[in-house]
Amino acid sequence: MTARLHARAPQTLSRLTRLAAVPLAGSVILGGGGAVFLIAQMGILAQIITDLAFRHHHALNELLYAGLLIGCVVLRALCQGSGDMLGDYAGQTVTSSLRMEAMEHLFRVGPVGLAGQDSGRIATLLSEGIEALHSYISRYMTRAAAMLVTPLLILAMVAKLDGWSLLILAITGPLIPLFMALVGYSAQSLMDRKWTELLLLGASFLDTLQGLTTLRLFGRTRDGLTILAHQTRAHRRSTMAVMRVAFLTSAVLEFFSSLSIALVAVLFGARLLNGTVAFQEAFFVLLLAPEFFMPLRSFSASYHDRQNAQSAFTPIAELFTLPPLCQADCPSSTSAPLQSVQLDKLCAGYGDEPDVLHSLSAHFNRNQLTVITGPSGSGKTTLLRVLLGMMPLRSGQANAQRADGTHCPLESLTIGWVPQSPFLLAGTIADNLRLAAPHATEDALQDVVQQAGMSDIIATLPEGLQTSLGERGAPLSAGQIRRLALARALLRAPQLLLFDEPTADLDAANAAHVADAIAQASSGRVCIVIAHRSDLTRYAQQTLTLSNGSWTQTGAVS
């Protein structure tokens, strides 16, 4: 699974582009067709103007040419429009599939692997960052191809018409991409800085926003503003540094193209004066000359897109290199109920840091409630994360045994988890419960709400289960949110039920109610509670104390 994904993860921008090779090729071919009609259109226009001005034809005699001209223009518009459309399609396909792949990968990395990352930064990357790739694929890639096709076609046409003009265009044309590449290399580092600052701005704004109340309580709103103003200034400066290079590049480009068009015109002027060339040819070449430089100019304009995309892509590619810590869910081979969970000399820790859990062994049985206590920071939460499959073991084993005697990995179990600070989705209470079981009936919801001791509270809400929750669960209190999370966990009918401080923030009566619910819920499943409070130990059949990552005492309470 992992290997396949890594092979699929796009390491470079050009590999990403290959995903949309077919529409891009179509776009380039249509662009080439457009160029042919463009040349024809200019030829016919030169013909009409020469007829009218020099051959003194009556305008109505030119109707055939006029019809042909309009035909060419329409065909060119068709080619150009559908080519652009295919380019957009390619861009949209690549960016949307990349976004979804990134999301899937992040799920494999899991919350523990992402702990060091700012979600504001990742969210900005997945939205703005990936959006930046869109114009790279839809514009830069098609224009890079058009830059070769259209000028070559025009050169071929000019070669037939006039040697001098061919010489001028053939010399100045290639100078332009060469010069741009030279400038482009130095601009890349500027572009990288601009992106770093944009991401920083996004992450820090989200953090400040979510801590607005805290800032107010500290009377530091004004300082938050100062920091923000400073960051926007830095962002403007780095963006302008990028822009300045881009504008200079296009100014130089315009200088080259104007110079050569003027040269073509003046050379023709002199020769027309001598009567050595015909007006029609000269006018045709003059009409074509700007079109020769047009694709080069639009390429240079979209070169900016490429740099932008490259800078935005680097941090996106880094997301894909985050190691997957989460075990993939594997369906169990047998449906026999869970008998027990064993830990055998288990060690675990974060990143390069030393082990948090040192060689832990334990046995958790069905129908048994285990309470694990220990001081703050002793590794209780880490142990839970290991049991949840959110972080890998460094050594040792964690296994489950079924009632029919077969062993299976923890990942194949249905696990219910009530975290210390549950995250609630924006939506109704029912939506949040149905996160665990999307098709649960209203009765099933009422049932688990009852078990978690929430039914009285929900009954007082005007819309009951359909009450919408704000971010962070408003208007429910912290204790009520905890009980809602308990109800949600019960809805999954889990084989292994894990609690992180289930009675924290609850008053004695409510805590007792929840404790009763936990004790009830432990029948028929393995149930592990992490708590440093005593109100659950009297329900526990096993009490373990964790200190600095090892057990200090184990006891069984009947």
Binding site: S204, L209, T214, G224, F268, L286, G479
Partner: protein, 565 residues
């Protein structure tokens, strides 16, 4: 789509600040466009004139002065390059300045609305408004104002010059340009506006969903909902793709109408000009010149269609920014704040408060003198935390008053109150960055020794020392690197650094073992002996330290039996 947005937001004040720069940019932009027009116009004449002279024989050849028009061509070319470069530099800088100002402004607008924001908006949505919408708004002069101004001036000049040579051609050009510059942008607007509104809504929803998924990942995975979440995002993305592509093909069709219109206009101008040529009103050389002029003139109206698309994006961004302005301010700041009284008691008199139509506090009367210690107990959801928010003036009561030394709290600014009252909330927010940064957030002047002392008081010092980087250890987003108990103690250390006169503690001993809780309360009270302390708790640990204990029941405070100590 052009109806005024219902909100108070207007781009005008922001544009006014950048008025001079924008005007200069507009002048340069017009100059560049006109130079471009002159260049094509003149080179058409140059070529045809030379050709006519060439045919006309040796006298005509000698009469034809090629140096002057050639110099003119060079002049126009140079003006175009320089003006374009200057214009881009100036206007992009101005646009970024406007964007920056908008970002600071939106933060300023959001700050006093933090309470409404917490219940009514999703952070992901607000983030995208901040990054994306402010950029969209800031781009207004660049994407909309400039092209419209330039096209208007350019069209006037082009039509004027053409009419001077041949009025009929001028009329044809004017007609063509008004179709290209007015009708086509209108058409593109009509066709894409409804889709673009839907697209923005869906994009906002997708971004908010992604952020929610990222922040709630642990819970989503533990509920086995990972695949469902991904499927939902997929569905959103597919809908969005459909909308974007629908919008793209409509826009592409209208865009491609312009070159067709251009050629039709060239043909009509040629028709009129050839009549004039035959009537002798025009010379041979002027006919190609007028044709080239039409081509150049249409280049000036070409950006108007994209300007129309940008305008729609601008209107939507302005509406969303307005919606944020419309969020109610729960506690408006006083226009003329009064000085804070010293050593004055904090009092609630007959306070009544409803939240979401639900009566939370009925009739609460209570006072707290400096140095006094009170505890309030009561079941979960009884309104204890609401009481704390009242005292911090995060909300105002419906009836009754909250006063500090006989002055209602709404006479003071949030900043004044923040020096006087410190609150440990149930869900403290830690900022990204190190432990040190979070302590400095609370008190920017704190020395290392003060920080260590504060950590000692909350029993966190040894744990922080044991961390790999000590005070510089990163807390992670929302303090995810710390345990629940560590977070709460760090938040308490922040408040101790601020040394407030009143201390509101919302469940201070939660997530702590009882012995540690008792020790911590003892230390905190010893460190701030002068402070009036209001402790909201359902744990027994803080109670022995309190002078009075109340119970919040049915929205009223009841003194506990034996509460007077």
């Amino acid at each position: 789509m052009t109806q005024p947005s219902p909100s108070a937001f207007s781009i005008r004040p922001f544009l006014r600040q950048a008025r001079g720069v924008l005007f200069a940019g507009c002048v340069l932009s017009c100059l560049a466009s006109l130079a471009s027009f002159g260049l094509l116009f003149l080179s058409g004449w140059l070529l045809a004139g030379a050709a006519a002279a060439g045919i006309g024989g040796i006298v005509a050849q000698n009469m034809f002065n090629i140096t002057l028009p050639a110099a003119g061509v060079r002049f126009f070319a140079t003006v175009r390059i320089v003006a374009r470069y200057g214009e881009r530099l100036i206007t992009h800088d101005a646009a970024l300045r406007v964007t920056g100002k908008l970002r600071v402004w939106s933060f300023k607008t959001l700050a006093p609305r933090s309470e409404s924001l917490a219940t009514q908006a999703r952070s992901g949505d607000v983030l995208s408004r901040f990054v994306h919408d402010t950029e969209q708004l800031g781009q207004f002069p660049l994407d909309v104002g400039l092209p419209v101004g330039t096209a208007f001036v350019g069209a006037l000049v082009a039509v004027g010059v053409t009419s001077a040579f041949n009025p009929a051609s001028g009329l044809a050009l004017a007609l063509g340009m008004s179709i290209g510059g007015l009708a086509l942008p209108w058409l593109i607007g009509v066709l894409t506006d409804p889709l673009s509104q839907q697209q923005r809504d869906h994009t906002a929803r997708l971004h908010a969903d992604m952020l929610e998924t990222l922040q709630g990942m642990a819970d989503i995975m533990a509920n086995g909902a990972a695949q469902r979440c991904i499927d939902r995002l997929h569905q959103r993305q597919t809908t969005l793709n459909r909308l974007i592509m629908g919008q793209a093909w409509r826009a592409h069709i209208v865009r491609q109408l312009l070159p067709i219109l251009t050629m039709l206009c060239v043909l009509s101008v040629l028709f009129c000009a050839s009549k004039a040529l035959q009537a002798g009103h025009l010379t041979t050389a002027q006919l190609p010149m007028l044709a080239m002029g039409v081509l150049a003139a249409f280049e000036m109206v070409a950006p108007l269609m994209d300007a129309r698309l940008a305008y729609e994006r601008f209107v939507q961004a302005a509406q969303r920014a307005g919606a944020l302005c419309d969020l109610p301010i729960a506690t408006p700041e006083p226009s003329t704040p009064v000085a804070l009284p010293q050593h004055a008691p904090l009092a609630l008199r007959h306070v009544q408060l409803s939240l979401d139509g639900h009566r939370v506090l009925n009739d609460v009367t209570f006072s707290l003198a400096p140095g006094e210690r009170c505890a309030i107990t009561g079941p979960s959801g009884a309104g204890k935390s609401t009481l704390a928010r009242l005292i911090m003036r995060l909300i105002d009561p419906d009836h009754g008053s909250v006063t500090l030394g006989d002055k209602p709290l709404n006479h003071f600014t949030t900043e004044q109150l923040s020096h006087e009252i410190g609150m440990l909330s149930q869900t403290p927010h830690l900022f990204q960055g190190s432990v040190r940064r979070n302590l400095l957030m609370a008190d920017p002047q704190a020395t290392e020794a003060q920080m260590i002392a504060a950590l000692h008081i909350v029993d966190l010092h040894e744990e922080v020392n044991a961390m790999p980087q000590g005070l510089d250890t990163l807390c992670g987003e929302h303090g995810t690197r710390l345990s629940g108990g560590q977070m709460r103690r760090l938040a308490l250390a922040q408040i101790i650094l601020r040394r407030p006169s009143f201390l509101v503690l919302d469940e201070p001993t939660e997530s702590l073992p009882p012995s540690m809780g008792t020790r911590m309360i003892d230390n905190v009270l010893a460190a701030l002996p002068q402070a009036g302390v209001l402790c909201i708790t359902h744990r027994p640990e803080p109670l022995p330290f309190m002078n009075r204990v109340f119970r919040l029941h049915n929205g009223c405070l009841i003194a506990e039996e034996g509460g007077e100590r």
